[in-house]
Amino acid sequence: MRYLPLTPDDRAQMLGVIGAPDIDALFADVPAAARKKDLFDLPKRAGELEVERELGALAARNRPAGEGPFFCGAGAYRHHVPASVDHIIQRSEFLTSYTPYQPEIAQGTLQVLFEFQTQVAALTGMDVANASMYDGSTATAEAVMMSQRVTRREKAILSGGLHPHYAAVTQTIAHAEGMTIVRQAAAIDAEAAVIAAIDAETACVVVQTPNIFGVVTDVTKIAEAAHAAGALLIVVTTEAVSFGLLKSPGEMGADIAVAEGQSIGVGLNYGGPYVGLFACREKLVRQMPGRLCGETLDAQGRRGYVLTLSTREQHIRREKATSNICTNSGLCALAFTIHLSLLGEVGLRQMAALSHSRARELVGALSGVCEVLTPRYFNEIAVRVPNASATVEALLQDGIVAGVPYSRLAPEAGLDDVLLLAVTETTTSADIAALSAALKGRLG
């Protein structure tokens, strides 16, 4: 077997050193009833070529986003990632290293994490950021649980513009810990309902911008209302590229900003791995979940980086930890940081402006074809079509993946006529023209 270096001679010699008659002797502690003598009923080993053939055949049965017009968003966006990003993350020293518990021989990973934290704090307009969470949805749930620790209150209000899957994850996890989760009804513009719901028991309000319907919201008034009631404002962003064009959560008064970082550096990957961004005000740092990298000095006074404030974490605090998270999204955070370092402020602003420009082009092209429901958008809009699921299936026949029906995210919401369409710098004018023409033909 190509990954197993020991030879039969090695094994025999080693057993001799150990003083064991055979390999079974080393498994003597396993109850006899549980020792499997025979091979499991699974295929035997396969060479590279055979594995490539099998997986290649499976991959060929899927329709990659880049194969033609493609308009899916709703929490995952197809942006172009420069080739050098993937090259660097495949370097052995990044790919095959562990969590940097030994800082003297992990300064590469640690300095990257310090850069990542700084970039995330800058994008979100917050003071501090952690070293990543699993994805945007689990980051949201962790933020809600953090608000309970900060305010000692139990109620969280989730806006009707929050991604339904994010709301479901938050409900699942934060409810288990004993919080009361109030999920507001789906609403294109949810601001007034959120403000009306805030009361003296509220630990936090969770608002997404741009929201699941693509609506960009100035959350300043929500922040004021939350703070007046002693609650925290958590702002969620599922499209990180929007930070390049829009006011940041910090500028608008957020206490905690969480985001899905997938659209910078990571790619689609059919839903994972992604990278959760988590940032907050400095005064809340000791209640944060997850790993934090901090600057320090070595014994010779040279600058270096270590994992720090670990008394918040499970390996030290066990059942009193702020979270149970251990492994996070290190390599995706690296990809995010490299892509953002290539872009810089100049490039990120261009990329965001281009994505927004494409959305304006899309809205123009749909004029007279279907009703656009999103009043202020970044790169995603909701449109009304008779039966969104059927429309998507029909347009597949034209070679177009025409977005995400809202009903797929929340079948019980009764919004079967709402279709979510996203564009990015990878969308071409020809793609938009094809979608517009096909929709016109189908809706005729």
Binding site: M1, R2, Y3, P5, R11, I18, A20, L26, D29, V30, P31, A34, F40, P43, R45, E54, A59, R63, P64, A65, C72, S84, I88, Y98, T99, P100, E104, Q107, T109, F114, Y134, D135, G136, S137, A168, E177, F243, L245, K247, L268, Y270, G271, G272, P273, L292, E295, T296, Q314, H315, N324, N328, S329, G330, L331, L342, Q350, H356, L396, P411, E425
Partner: protein, 522 residues
């Protein structure tokens, strides 16, 4: 044309590195690399875009006016920056990486290649399932392998790492208790030797945690377990093989008495590598177990993730599994994303989409490469390598549990360092100077000055011998009074020991323009 070599010496003179410092802070090939924020790229970019056709005037004052404050670099500068940083990391591809309980094994590059096929990497989680049948088929095959290897009837694929899998398992258990009218069961029993994530996860779902004592031979104390079981216990969480590197001999009895008291048996599967292909957790009475695909099935650790933590479930717990899951329908595989009918008793959702697809592809490629025969060999070689290290190092070091074999990792205590003035931490840091990553230290908590060594099956005998020779030489140096070799170590790493107290006392978690680094470093 001949080169002009006049005056050029062709043999090195005598020299010593001792006390030598470069003028720039570099150490030969190792550059002293600043932060990206100190490289001056405030108006640079390494990506070329076409101009946008439309402006953002439609968004009015929603548009950012303040600068973001992130620099950019051209592509060559970016490559240099991150390649220089990479050279300050240890990695499996450089040398044995013996972190106990972390299973740092070789990461096959075929798996990387497969995960990057556009048919997997460029798929959107919400595109129509009719356009992703190959991806769903791969998930279904992975699920089949995981169920077969564990002897369990169901698997939840979506958890994103081991701790997330623990959460998934406990949420299933909680839902099952509540469905049976046993919501009052809110206590979880966890051995003292458990990973920190076990008690943290139990607390995360609102359970209280109580520790189970350990026997002198490093196993769960059955009498103590039985005494603590009762009508308020929801579950036990036991790692098997445990974190002392030992198989729980009485595991079937542990399961039996736990079930007799109405508690579920959650098994932490972090150490599944030791038994894969030889022992099925389902035959041991386990109700739920997460599998770290980034350990046993070799998806890269990537400097701290991403991982993947699918959870196998017993028949009793399977109905409560999280959405989404796969079903075989008339038109192929379907993804059940919302449990709509009355029969669905799912506890909810673990993450936004289908889980770590990129990791599923890698893990499946790994399994297919090994096959049933290769995976069995994985467990055997992993256990053989650990026992070999234990036997060889016993010449100078003290195994915590000398009697009987260990499984995939060998645990030592620090009795052999008594009186030397060298601590476990010092010894570990000296290993860095010898070119090896330290073992897991001071864990598990049940052994004084613990050193937990897990070599994995992908080490050659030559590398094992090189490692053992280095540790034995160090051990002899410690015993011979060469204390400075340890207390000041590492001497040859990119940095010497770092001040963790300083980092925690005045946390600097982001670079800020006002940071004056030159002052801070003096």
């Amino acid at each position: 044309m001949a080169m002009n070599n006049v005056g050029r010496p062709t043999a090195p003179g005598t020299s010593s590195t001792e006390g030598h410092a470069s003028l720039t802070g570099a150490r030969g090939l190792l550059q002293d690399e600043p932060l990206i924020f100190e490289l001056g790229g405030w108006d640079k970019t390494g990506v070329d875009f076409d101009p946008a056709d439309h402006d953002a005037s439609d968004l009015g004052d929603l548009v950012r006016t303040a600068p973001i404050g992130i620099p950019g670099l051209s592509e060559p500068e970016t490559l240099r920056h991150y390649v220089r940083l990479s050279q300050k990391n240890h990695a499996i591809d450089l040398a044995l990486y013996p972190l106990g309980s972390c299973t740092m094994k070789h990461n096959p590059r075929l798996n990387e290649k497969m995960a990057r096929l556009p048919g997997f990497a460029d798929l959107h989680p919400l595109q129509p399932v009719s356009t992703a049948q190959g991806a769903l088929e791969l998930m279904d095959r992975l699920a089949h392998w995981l169920k077969t290897l564990t002897g369990m009837p169901a698997v939840a694929l979506t958890p994103k790492a081991g701790a997330h899998g623990e959460l998934c398992g406990l949420l299933c258990i909680k839902a099952a208790h509540e469905a049976a009218g046993n919501g009052h069961r809110r206590r979880v029993l966890v051995p003292t030797s458990a990973h920190g994530t076990n008690p943290a996860t139990a607390a995360f779902v609102g359970y209280s945690v109580e520790e189970i004592a350990q026997t002198a031979d490093g196993r769960v104390d059955l009498a103590d377990l039985e005494a603590k079981l009762g009508p308020d216990v929801a579950a036990i969480m036991v790692t098997n093989p445990n974190t002392c590197g030992l198989f729980e001999r009485e595991v079937i009895e542990i399961a039996r008495i736990s079930h007799a008291h109405g508690a579920y048996f959650y098994c932490d599967g972090a150490n599944f590598n030791a038994i894969v292909g030889r022992v099925r957790p389902g035959d041991l009475g386990v109700d739920a177990m997460h599998i770290n695909l980034h350990k046993t099935f070799s998806t890269p650790h990537g400097g701290g993730g991403p991982g993947a933590g699918p959870v196998v479930l017993s028949q009793a717990l399977a109905p409560f599994a999280p959405t989404p899951w796969l079903v075989h329908g008339a038109d192929g595989l379907e993804l059940v994303e919302e449990a709509r009918d009355e029969a669905a008793r799912t506890f909810g959702r673990m993450c936004a989409f289908q889980g770590q697809m990129g990791m599923f592809v890698r893990a499946y490629a790994y399994m297919r490469s090994h096959g049933a025969d290769g995976l069995r060999q994985v467990a055997e070689d992993a256990v053989l390598n650990a026992n070999y290290i234990k036997a060889v190092l016993a010449a100078e070091m003290t195994p915590a549990f000398p009697d009987g074999p260990c499984m995939h990792e060998a645990l030592f205590d620090d009795r052999w360092l008594e009186g030397t003035g060298v601590t476990t931490l010092d010894f570990a840091k000296a290993m860095i100077d010898e070119g090896f990553h330290p073992m897991t230290m001071y864990f598990p908590l049940v052994v004084h000055g613990a050193m937990l060594i897990e070599p994995t099956e992908t080490e050659s005998k030559r590398e094992l011998d090189r490692f053992c020779d280095a540790l034995l030489a160090l051990a002899r140096a410690a015993k011979a009074g060469d204390v400075e070799r340890f207390t000041g170590a590492p001497y040859l790493a990119p940095l010497s020991r770092l001040d963790e107290t300083l980092a925690a006392r005045k946390p600097k978690l982001t670079w800020r323009p006002e940071h004056d680094v030159s002052v801070a470093a003096e």
